[in-house]
């Protein structure tokens, strides 16, 4: 990637080495690298300078595990990348909202989170379909179940959804802003609460970043225990969602068993650290609790038992013709659309995209123990359900190997102050997909800028695309097959 500063996952570089290119060169180099098969990891403001806003682009070379960084400085507008590269569309909407920089030529700069000082939430124009017999169905922010708030607007013709508008921001609580100026005693807890069902994922992404910026190496045992936390989180959420899918088609036996099994996995996490969500465990420098041999033995026993019951429960799912009839060819996301939109995680893999941070950006965490990456095809609700199950199987296989040889060393290494004037990215494959944390430090080694990209940020638009042409009654199924995070998106 010519013109880019080359780095990797959790590899800090000096801010002074970050290329600041003229706008034309920046656009040209970014678009040319994307055209050559690189992937857009991030497009964001980075800092306010006296001459304008510094924009940062981060591109991934997934085959080599490399990350390229390049920046430019713009006054108050620049020619948008979105018309040339659709995956930039959401980043540019966010850029406009957070930094006031207008990407000229962007099709529609709708608000992303409705932060303070902007338009009031809900007061926004939606994409509208007009014509005889066309109608709109508006849902939310308060949904019918115990679900986070968000607004959905379906443009329908009869039962058929022509287009779905998704408008979020109701969970916006200022997480990124609160992390700036740290690290302090609240930082790790803010990381754990970016998305409660991904506490281990975001805590690991945060810790990996802080360790990179402070030059801290954790012990092999600490990395192993983090992988245990991450994989348990993956299994619990996937099996819970399979149960929720069963519930949505009214197949209650599998719904009940999977719901119970999700809790059993959460209880294994609680056995290891005291919290069902894995809180209070992953800390900068390693882990706060080190389970003894007896507990690890108990964990293997519990996992083996849960695996037997999970197999039994999902076997009912796959053999139920009524469930298959509802899920097959429903909510299809083509591989082309997944690539064009920059989708990550199980929904991308279920559409045939072979991409997983655990293998492509292993870092010390998954070095030498990346699991087999399951890649599906079809991209429909059934493919996403099957993808979840295959990822559970792979996670169990990984845990089985890992717990046989959990490594040695102190659970917690001391963490020094952060290197001044540096930048680093941290990638972790959470259960929903790629979690990205990025930070820069100031001259005193404090966090000057902190950016979080939850996989939901990339994937919400894919749900809207998957719903096109579908029956509105299939929305719950489609939605559950993605199960995206509102709080992780809203921050």
């Amino acid at each position: 990637m010519s013109g880019f500063l080359s780095t990797g996952n959790a590899m800090p570089v000096a801010l002074s080495a970050l290329p600041v290119r003229p706008l034309d060169a920046f656009r040209g180099e970014v678009l040319s690298a994307l055209g050559d098969g690189r992937r857009l990891l991030l497009l964001s403001g980075l800092a306010q300078t006296t001459v304008g806003t510094q924009l940062l682009a981060a591109l991934a070379d997934d085959t080599r595990g490399e990350i390229g960084l390049v920046s430019t400085i713009v006054a108050d507008s620049y020619p948008a990348l979105t018309p040339d590269w659709p995956a930039a569309h959401y980043f540019e909407r966010e850029l406009y909202e957070q930094w006031g920089v207008r990407p000229e030529g962007h099709p529609w700069l709708k608000p992303v989170r409705f932060p303070r000082g902007g338009p009031a939430i809900g007061e926004v124009e939606f994409f509208r379909v007009s014509g005889a017999e066309v109608h709109e169905v508006a849902v939310g922010p308060v949904h019918a179940g115990v679900i986070e708030p968000g607004h959905f607007r379906f443009n329908c013709h009869g039962e058929r959804v022509l287009h779905l508008e998704i408008s979020l921001g109701y969970q916006h609580r200022g997480v990124e802003a609160a992390l700036r100026g740290g690290p302090d005693k609240r930082s790790i807890h803010l990381a754990e609460t970016v998305a409660g069902d991904t506490s281990a994922g975001h805590a690991t992404a945060y810790c990996q970043l802080i360790e990179a910026l402070s030059g801290t190496l954790c012990s092999p045992r600490a990395y192993s225990l983090r992988v245990v936390a991450l994989e348990l989180e993956r299994i619990a959420n996937h099996i819970g969602d399979l149960g929720a899918l069963a519930g949505d088609v009214g197949f209650l036996p599998a719904a009940s068993y999977c719901g119970r099994l999700r809790g059993d996995i959460l209880n294994l996490t609680a056995m290891l650290c005291g919290s069902r969500l894995g809180r209070g465990w992953i800390r900068p420098g390693g882990v706060a609790h080190e389970p003894g041999a007896e507990i690890l033995h108990e964990l293997r026993r519990g996992l083996a038992e849960a695996e037997r019951d999970m197999r039994n429960a999902v076997d009912l799912l796959w053999k139920s013709s009524s469930l298959r009839a509802r899920c097959e060819n429903t909510g299809t996301l083509t591989g082309r659309a997944a690539l064009d939109l920059g989708i990550v995680g199980p929904p991308a893999r279920a559409s045939g995209i072979d991409r997983d941070c655990r293998r492509d950006f292993a870092a010390a965490l998954y070095q030498g123990r990346a699991p087999a990456v399951a890649v599906g095809d079809g991209g429909d609700v059934f493919a996403r359900a099957m993808q979840r199950w295959r990822e559970i199987e792979n996670a169990i296989g990984l845990l089985d190997r890992l717990l046989g040889e959990p490594g040695e060393g102190d659970p917690l290494a001391p963490v020094e102050t952060l290197m001044p004037d540096s930048i680093a990215l941290s990638l972790v494959e959470g259960w929903r997909g790629e979690i990205l944390h990025l930070a820069t430090t100031d001259a005193a080694g404090h966090l000057a800028y902190y950016k979080i990209i939850d996989p939901s940020f990339r994937n919400w638009f894919a749900l809207a695309i998957a719903m096109r042409g579908q029956a509105i009654s299939d929305f719950p199924l489609c939605n559950k097959s993605f199960n995206l995070s509102y709080c992780g998106h809203d921050l």
Binding site: R116, I147, Y170, L190
Partner: protein, 251 residues
């Protein structure tokens, strides 16, 4: 059909025998903290400095811990040089009065059962509308767990309903973001009188880890008349079940 029956036999009966038997909780579970002022070292304020949410204060009378702010991270117990703070296995944390959440020694929060007339009105059921207002979805996940076969809150007549019009009250989670304020208050207004308000989790009670963020309201305590406070980050499903059953006078 036959396969489904076989699976049913295999998966077994899983509902916890609560409240007839105490819940089974892991040894590391961090429940109700107990403070021992006698052990407290004069001039030491390490617990206060370590607390990420300002839940702790130390006065001459000893340490004071506000369960409404506590996220049960256990940092204070870890840094205390005198072991004056201990997180016990006690899952019973809910209280009717905000002031009762402030612990000074080995005190326990108290839940007053609802007035007799209201209990008669509710009969054997409690229908709640859950309002998710800006947290991390951790509390929502544990509220959802109340519906699974292990906790099975519906065997006590406790259910979560889709419409505020069908509800006897609201159970709020999250610090109440500015962006959710109007929707949350309007949902509350849509519930018919008499109605209950339950604040579940540190965020809804005090703002939790998001306290003082200009994007949120530090919880609902100043905006809605709260009948039951359920501490935790998130509260364990047994903590929620215990609070709800006490409120209904069933425990």
């Amino acid at each position: 059909m036959f396969k489904a029956l076989l699976a049913r036999a295999r998966q077994g009966h899983r509902t916890a025998r609560y409240p007839a038997q105490p819940p089974s909780l892991p040894p590391l579970f961090r429940g109700r903290p107990v403070l021992d002022p006698a052990k407290c070292v004069a001039g030491c304020a390490r617990c206060v400095e370590s607390c990420p949410t300002g839940a702790l204060q130390v006065s001459e009378a000893g340490p004071e811990l506000d369960l409404g702010r506590c996220i049960f991270c256990g940092e204070c117990a870890d840094v205390c040089p005198a072991d004056a703070i201990d997180f016990t296995q006690d899952w019973r944390l809910a209280a009717s009065e905000r002031a009762d959440l402030v612990l000074t020694g080995d005190g326990e929060p108290r839940v007053a059962a609802l007035r007799h007339e209201l209990r008669r009105l509710l009969g054997r059921s409690l229908r709640l509308r859950q309002i998710s207002a800006g947290g991390c979805n951790g509390c929502e996940a544990e509220v959802n767990a109340l519906g699974n076969v292990v906790f099975d809150a519906s065997r006590f007549g406790i259910d979560f309903v889709a419409s505020p019009r069908h509800a006897d009250g609201v159970l709020v989670t999250g610090p109440l973001t500015a962006n959710m304020k109007e929707a949350a208050l309007r949902t509350y207004e849509a519930v018919a009188e008499p109605k209950l308000v339950i604040a579940a989790g540190a965020c809804a009670i005090s703002g939790g880890i998001f306290r003082t963020h200009p994007e949120a309201c530090d919880g609902i305590a100043d905006l809605l008349p709260v009948d039951l406070y359920i501490p935790g980050c998130p509260p364990h499903p047994f903590t929620m079940l215990d609070g709800l059953l006490r409120l209904l006078g069933r425990l």
